[in-house]
Amino acid sequence: MWQIISGIYMGWALGSNDAANVFGTAVSSRMLRFWTAASLCAVFALIGALVEGGAGMKTYSALSSTSLDTAFLVGLGAALTVTGMTSLRLPVSTSQAVVGALIAIGTAPVLVGTATTANVQLDVLGKVVACWVGTPIGALVAAVVLYVVIGQLMNRLALNVFQYDRLLRMAQIVAGSYGAYALGANNVANVTGPFTGPGMLSVPAACLVGGLAIAAGSLTFSRGVMMTVGRGLVKLDAYSAFIVILAEGVTVHAYAVLGVPVSTSQAVVGGVLGIGIVKGARTVNRRTLRNILLAWISTPTVSFLVTLAGYVVAHEVGWL
């Protein structure tokens, strides 16, 4: 079962990057200490993975079937894509990388001549791609609705400066913890999803291993990203930043229930865009939007090619 190491690496990278999307604001504004935020993120991501992580795994199993060795290639191909594209500062999404790798594994046997038809369920793929597009849009709508509804409730409370501050600080912690839960529930499939099936991990075991890998990532390596992403979000006022985190959590959680792993970063951009619509201000520049569009295409394409190359090499050396 050594092959699972590629999935664990993927989980660690995911935890270290995506913890920033839920607790970045609180840490970079020095409202919460890094260790408190990282611990909350680790605990809630693990709980999310254990409680609701199974649905996404079933989707990946339905998209294309894998063996232990090909699951390793999926994890490795996706992880190399994410690491490489991040190093080159190109927009990337873990979920989209895993899907590209799964498609490669489903189509590679046709290319090397060991199968006549590709093992990719196009209806499942269609659902997954629709959810990618729906992520920023869903977060945008969620941000607009939440901004107005919660705002009206807060106005009615007529809070003084200290009460307002206290409520928002509490709200950011609650929203961050919920976002971490949603992150674990939604993204654990990216980590150990390809390793579920006959002769491999059971779904609960995969959720546990994946959840622990994400938790480890947030505890060990998320500080830098938290500061960078958080400072970007801090440019928003505290209420808007809270709404963005909450909208991201709601959206990512909704897709976790639907069983489709999506990008938390793209949900954050959708949320920030929603705030801009409510306030009549431009909160997201064209470059960020272009990056999302690019990520939808480039990430699965690069991951597909990397994994395909890995498969061909493994086949040529007689490992597969």
Partner: protein
């Protein structure tokens, strides 16, 4: 989490203490200026100058303490910025109280008897502006929705102070007061009038802080 709110409580206590000391400074200034208009420069005024200087320094120390405490993991950045900006702007009023008494004592400025009633009106008007802006601060710290009603009178007092200042300076320059005394008196009038100017600036800031929290 309890530490989280403990720091906030400590900041709140320090802010309350700051405003108490600022009130003390301005009240001492009010009493000192009144006694100066009545009795001229006397020991009582010199003693008051010392007291005003001491309480203004205490207000400064408190402001620095609040600033340090705020940067040690308490309050959101925008709350920190708003409160520190408010205190910084507000602090100019105790500073002015100290500047004016020190100016009178060191430069031995004498107000000719015919101008004393107008100086008294100017002082009252500026102290009213101060008390109104203090009311606005209290409302901001209690219920920001009611801030608007306390801000408008500050604006009115500032305009009234401007009118008194202009009339007073004109009558001083129309009089046979010594030329160098005219300059000193004009400076004294302008410094006292600066209290309501600052009160107005603080009031606008308070209004914005309250508005920022309306979603």
């Amino acid at each position: 989490m309890s530490l989280f709110f403990k720091r906030e409580k400590e900041v709140r206590q320090l802010i309350d203490e700051y405003f108490r000391v600022a009130d003390e400074t301005l009240d001492a200034f009010d009493a000192a200026f009144k006694s100066y208009l009545k009795d001229g420069i006397c020991d009582k005024l010199r003693e008051a100058d010392g007291r005003i200087h001491a309480s203004e320094s205490r207000a400064d120390d408190l402001r620095v303490e609040i600033e340090k405490m705020m940067y040690s993991h308490s309050l959101l950045p925008e709350s920190r910025g708003d409160i520190l900006g408010l205190l910084e702007s507000f602090d100019k009023m105790p500073n002015l109280a100290e500047t004016v008494t020190f100016m009178i004592v060191t430069q031995k400025i004498q107000v000719p008897p015919q101008f004393r009633p107008d100086f008294s009106r100017l002082l009252d008007c500026n102290m009213d502006a101060y008390h109104q802006v203090r009311e606005a601060v209290d409302r901001l710290l209690a219920n920001p929705d009611t801030v608007g009603a306390a801000v408008k009178p500050v604006d009115e007092k500032e305009s009234e102070s401007d009118r008194i200042e202009r009339a007073l300076i004109t009558s001083i320059y129309d009089s046979d007061t010594d030329k160098s005394d005219r300059i000193l008196l004009r400076e004294l009038i302008e410094r006292v009038g600066d209290i309501s100017d600052n009160a107005e600036r603080v009031a606008y800031r308070i209004e914005i802080i309250a508005l920022k929290r309306r979603i």
